[in-house]
Every structure is written in C-alpha cells, then in structure tokens.
Amino acid sequence: MNEGFKWDAVGEALPLLLQGFKVTLLATLLGTVVAAVLGLAIAVAGRAPSRLVTVPVKIVMEFIRSTPLLIQLVGAAAVFSSVEPLTIGIVVLGVHYATYTSEVYRAGIDSVPKGQWEACRALSMSPRRTWQAVILPQAVRNVLPALGNYAILMFKETPFLAVITVQEMVFKAREYGAGHFVYTEVFTLAGVLFLVASYPTSLLMRKLEKRLGH
C-alpha cells in the first residue's frame, strides 16, 4: 500500500496550485474589502437612535454568524445560479465576515471618548459630519489590526469556495488529485502553501498590533 511520497507529482502540481492561489488571494482581498465596508455600515446602523433599526440588524447578524458558511455558499449559488461563482463566493464570504468585523468596529467606536461626542454636539455638528470628521477617523485607526486578523481567518476559509466550483487552490488540488490519484502530495503541498502564506502575515500583524500599543 505504501508507495512513498512522489516528489515529481509535487513539481508537476505546483504551477497549477499557484494558479489557484491567485484566485484564493483575489477572493481574500475582495472578501476583506466587502467585510470591512459592510461591517462598518452595520456597526453604524447598530448605533441608530431607533430600535426599529437596531433590533432587526442584531437578529440578522446573530443568524448569519451562527449558521455555517458552507450552507450559505451552497444555498446562494443554487438560488442565484446565473451569477458567476467567484462573485457569489466573495459576496457571501464578505457578508459572513462583516458580522464579525462589525463587532470590531463597534468596540472601536465605543473606545472613542464620550467627550468627543459631546464636543461635536456643542459645536452643533450634523450627525453625518460628527461620524465623518471626528468619530470614524479615531475608531478605524484602532481597529485596523483586528481587521487584519479577520483577513487571515478569511484566507484560511477560502477553500470553502471550491464547493461552489470557484477555481481556487484546493479546487485545483482536488482536480489534479482525482486525475492522477496523488491526493497525498497535492493536499500536503496545498497545506504547506497555506502555512507559508499565513504564518508570516500573522507575525506581521502581531508586530503591527504591538506597535499600535494593543
């Protein structure tokens, strides 16, 4: 049964996996952008003065956060079958992580001293100008490292996209493995590539976090 590790298969699969890796990175990057923007919108909506806004937002968020990403992906791909899989993947990944990043923003917004709000009021600034010119610039700066962490988490969850036929790295690995019957080598290689990409990034994030004094 034991046939040893086929190194030539690794060499052959590497270019293919790197090709898939580009899609993985693209999905992570765009997914992070969606999560960062939408998360901010949810966090601001969560501070709305009316309960008619805050309660439904909270319920939807809790629901998305507590249910599996895989089913959300497969379900969205089945319902919107005419949309390109990569687009669906990025949107679903982004929405899922937005429910997490919104909490990060919320903490960031809460960390802005109360006096800042009062000062805005004293200067009779409009709510829009208060958020734009005073609150958000301070809040966003505080939460950048935490957002970076979610980007790394998302990167590790991109293989889920293979299920809806996005041609990312694990999809390529499965394809090659099924064609040549060399699962061991390709999945080991895929794991190593993930490790090589994510570990230095998380070290960098940790350094950045220390530097910002967290």
């Binding site: 034991n2 507590s66 599996p68 379900g75 909490e103 935490a146 962490n149 293989p159 993930f194």
Partner: protein, 244 residues
C-alpha cells in the same frame, strides 16, 4: 413548499440519524479539541524550552494550514500513505479536534496568563505543590476567563461540520441535500437547514452560558438570570487568538 415539508416528514428517520452524526462530530471533535487545548496550552507556559517549542510548532501548524486541507488530507491522503483508512466521521473528528485544539491552546494560555501574578506568589508563599496550585487556585479563575472564547470556538466547530458532507459522511447536511434534490425545493431546503443549525448553535450557547454561570458562582461572582440569554461576542473570538 408543502411538498418539501411532507417529504421532510417522510424522511424524518434519515434526518434524525443525520442530526445524530452532526452532533457526534461536534461533541467528539469538541472533546478532543478541549483535551488538546489544555495539553498544548499548559505546555506553552512550561519552563522547559522543548515543551514550549513543541507546543508552538503544533499550534502554528494546525492553525496555519486550513481546516479544509486537513480534513481532505485525513480522508484522501492518509490511506495511500499509511495504509489505514479512517471512517469519514473519524476523519472529521480528528481534523476538527486538531484544528480547534490549536486555537483553544491559545485561549488556555491567554486565560492562565491573565490570572493576576500575585495569585501565583501567594500559592508559592503558602508552599503549595505545582499541581495543587493549578487545580485549586489558577485554573478555577482561568476557566471563567476561558469559557466565553471556548463557546465561540465550539460554535465555529459546529459551523464546520457540514464539511462532512464532502467526504460523504451521512450528516444533517447530507440528509437535507438529498431531500432537496428529490423535491427540487432549493430555497426552502437551505433555509430549513440554516434554521436547524441556528437552533443547535443557540442551544449550545445556552448550555455554555449555564456552565459559565456555575463557574462564576464558584468564585463567588453572582450573575443574574439574564446572563444566560446573552449572545456570543465576536470580539473575544479574535482577541483570544482566533486568527493569530
């Protein structure tokens, strides 16, 4: 829509066994993860460089390589390499346990480090043995700190179990997926499935909140009944080494 629910009723035995497989994977995976979290977490605060190093390498390895890759590795790559073939459920339990154990190790480490330094000094002054000190003083306090993050990890583990569908274990996802392809009610099927997982997640959260309350009581920290219903916070998941 009514088609789907009458088929749902007909398929109840399969759905029940699917639910059981999902729960089995979640609970066994979580138990393995819990044991590994404590072993690796305690190793990482040891004074021996070797034990710290081993724990660091194992944790970074299982966090750095994606869960999805690990699951597939156990399912596809193990048999030709070692000659052992594991059942899909066992592959799932191993992958979930190892992956979340690595995340949990950071939670345990962080919580133990958060116990005030003076508590250690007091136990030394009282001449307690290291084991006694951990069991009676440090862990009961760290446990309260750990529980919210562990709850988050548990729910995340539950949310990963539909992956079992891909390696053909007959879990809840598989059972509903079969129903969907038979009835053609795509939207209803997936919404039902999401609702099932939400109920499971909420039930687990309530259980863990109960555990947290009893742990706090033991330290003399009273909490009201409302604390049982509080939802999880996403921030603690990240802060407790969710990503790093």
């Amino acid at each position: 829509m009514s088609d789907f629910f009458s088929a749902f009723m007909d398929d109840l035995p399969q759905l029940r066994s699917g639910l059981w497989v999902t729960l089995e994977a979640t609970i066994l995976g979580a138990l393995l993860a819990l044991v590994l979290s404590f072993v690796l977490g305690l190793m990482s605060i040891s004074r021996l460089l070797l034990s710290r190093g081993v724990s660091r390498v194992v944790v970074e390895f299982f966090r750095g390589t994606s869960l999805y890759v690990q699951l597939f590795w156990f399912y596809y790559a193990m048999p030709p390499l070692t000659g052992y073939e594991l059942s899909p459920l066992l592959c799932g339990v191993l992958a979930f346990g190892l992956n979340y154990g690595a995340y949990g190790a950071e939670v345990v480490r962080g919580a133990i480090n958060s116990v005030p330094r003076a508590q250690y000094e007091a136990t030394i002054a009282l001449n307690m043995t290291p084991l006694h000190r951990m069991r009676k003083v440090i862990l009961p306090q760290a446990w309260v700190q750990m529980l919210p993050s562990l709850t988050n990890l548990l729910i995340q583990l539950l949310k990963c179990t539909p992956l079992l569908w891909l390696i053909s274990a007959a879990d809840l996802m598989t059972a509903v997926e079969k129903l969907r392809s038979r009835t053609g009610e795509t939207l209803t099927a997936y919404v039902t499935l999401l609702a099932c997982y939400f109920v499971l997640a909420y039930a687990l959260t309530l259980l863990m909140n109960l555990l947290e309350r009893s742990a706090k009581r033991r330290l003399g920290l009273e909490t009201g009944g409302r604390s049982l219903l509080k939802s999880r916070s996403a921030v603690t998941a990240a802060a407790a080494g969710g990503a790093r």
